[in-house]
């Protein structure tokens, strides 16, 4: 078992997304940055989407109640065990009673801590991630609190020596984090693409897992008229009448009536999970066939390390 010692700003269990449940009104949810969660789980010897802890913005701390192996990735400044610094690019071995502390970098938003075997999490439909608006998944459908004790699935047998040898994160898979994100999009018209890609956008202060309001020097001119409620997905860019685009995150609603002006390409949607308020975003326009090629290339590169990786 793991005891939560410090949640930082916000922590929750994220794992399997609710893929295939959108017709019931259920958003995708899951890790805000599924690629980074996949790295943590691979370091821990798990499937890429085993239930893990998502520490948002500030990092956090846990206490191991028994011996265990963990993987930690994301915008990390420092990891320490009982006050001693530790290289977090490897699987980390904890013994009962150890306190593991994670300090976050100023840039980036979400750090993932996976435990070998995975955390136990409430299952609904195809997912087990925390979705707080409906109080489902994760740990009792809510964000984690100091003192929460989380169960670890301990039924998985692994050759620990193999775990150590195999799961040191190679240099080329170590992500860089900054305050300015370059994100490829498919705009829905050339004119919209020009406006979206012309200059960087500032990320508004009210952002969360549902999405981010963007603010630019010049908002979208003549935004399209309001439409009837239609399907929207993580990564879609809506345009309210104000002309300030709204970028939808993993917990975004399944349908919406604001006009859609483009979407983040499938290969880059995981980047949304590392955006935070006051960051900047520069969009680059892709055609759909380019977006698919980038998606195949990214999957190919990452599956050499995370064989079962799936990006939504």
């Amino acid at each position: 078992m793991i005891e939560i010692v410090d949640i930082g700003l916000l922590a929750s269990i994220q794992g399997k997304a609710y893929r295939g449940s959108r017709h019931l009104g259920m958003p995708l949810s899951g890790a805000a940055d599924p690629l980074t969660m996949g790295i943590a789980n691979t370091l821990a010897g798990n499937a890429y989407d085993c239930a893990s802890i998502e520490f948002s913005i500030l990092g956090g701390a846990i206490k191991a109640h028994h011996d265990m192996h963990v993987g930690i990735t994301g915008p990390i400044k420092q990891v320490s065990i009982n006050g001693n610094d530790y290289d977090h690019h490897k699987s980390i071995s904890l013994t009962a009673g150890d306190i593991l502390m994670i300090e976050a970098l100023p840039a980036g938003a979400n750090i993932y801590m996976a435990v070998h075997g995975g955390l136990e999490a409430d299952q609904h439909w195809n997912g087990n991630s925390t979705f707080t608006p409906a109080k489902i998944g994760g740990h009792r459908g809510r964000a984690l609190q100091k003192g929460d004790v989380l169960k670890v699935n301990t039924g998985i047998k692994t050759d620990i020596n193999k775990l150590y040898l195999m799961h040191t994160l190679p240099e080329k898979y170590r992500m860089q984090y900054g305050h300015h994100h370059i994100i490829r999009i498919c705009p829905y018209t050339d004119a919209l693409g020009q406006q979206l890609c012309d200059a960087p956008w500032n990320v508004g202060r009210q952002g969360n897992r549902i999405g981010y309001a963007l603010d630019g020097d010049q908002n979208i001119i003549s935004p399209p008229h309001m439409s009837k409620s239609v399907a929207v997905f993580t990564g879609h860019i809506q345009c309210p009448p104000s002309g300030a685009p709204f970028l939808l995150g993993p917990d975004a609603q399944t349908t919406g009536g604001y006009p859609l002006i483009g979407h983040v390409i499938r290969a880059d949607r995981h980047i949304i999970g590392q955006i935070k308020s006051s960051d900047k975003i520069s969009f680059i326009a892709n055609k759909p066939h380019e977006a698919r090629r980038v998606y195949q290339q990214k999957l190919k590169m990452w599956r050499d390390y995370i064989p079962d990786l799936h990006l939504d």
């Binding site: 409906a134 489902i136 409620s229 239609v230 399907a231 609603q253 499938r266």
Partner: protein
Amino acid sequence: MNADNIFIYEDHARITILDDIMRQRLSTALLETREFEEVVLGIEELCVKFDPEYINDNEVKYLISQHLKSRNHDTISSPNHHRLDISFDHSHALDINHVAHIMEMNEAEFQNWFLQQRFRVQMMGFQPGFVYLSHDIDAPEIKRLNIPRAKVAAGSIGFLGTSACIYAHDGPGGWPIIGKVKNNIFDTANTPPNLLNSGDNIIFHLS
């Protein structure tokens, strides 16, 4: 309706289908194929999301076109019928006077009118368990609130004249609220947790 009406955007496709029943039937048929990651009903539109790693544009268009041509989806099982308990108490029905005024009725007349309507679940969306309802009677268009409420209580019934909705969870919302259902329409203790599904028929009963 043919493949020319299917518009593909990298990993999702949109099809405009004005007929509610036809759209619902196609949605059910496409869900059953399990070829798509998501099948989502919208108003006058159906959208499918797919993984370009496994399926290409032509295959998407072919699959949808085949189901549009096929009459197999005409054999969908009958919708469920629900009688939901409603309260028009002013502690819940925050905008009923405003709505009744636009409907050119007094409050009692509006309540009676509402209880006589047969509603159909047009689609689910927005949040888990949330339902969009439609009815067949002409009614004036009612605008959403200028400033959405930060918190609308679970069970609240929103009304826009030609359509209505039921909020499944406490949360923000911009529909004028005319009452509240007493039934729990989303309960994780149940399998499935949602009480209502697309295509279901609903009448409201004063309790």
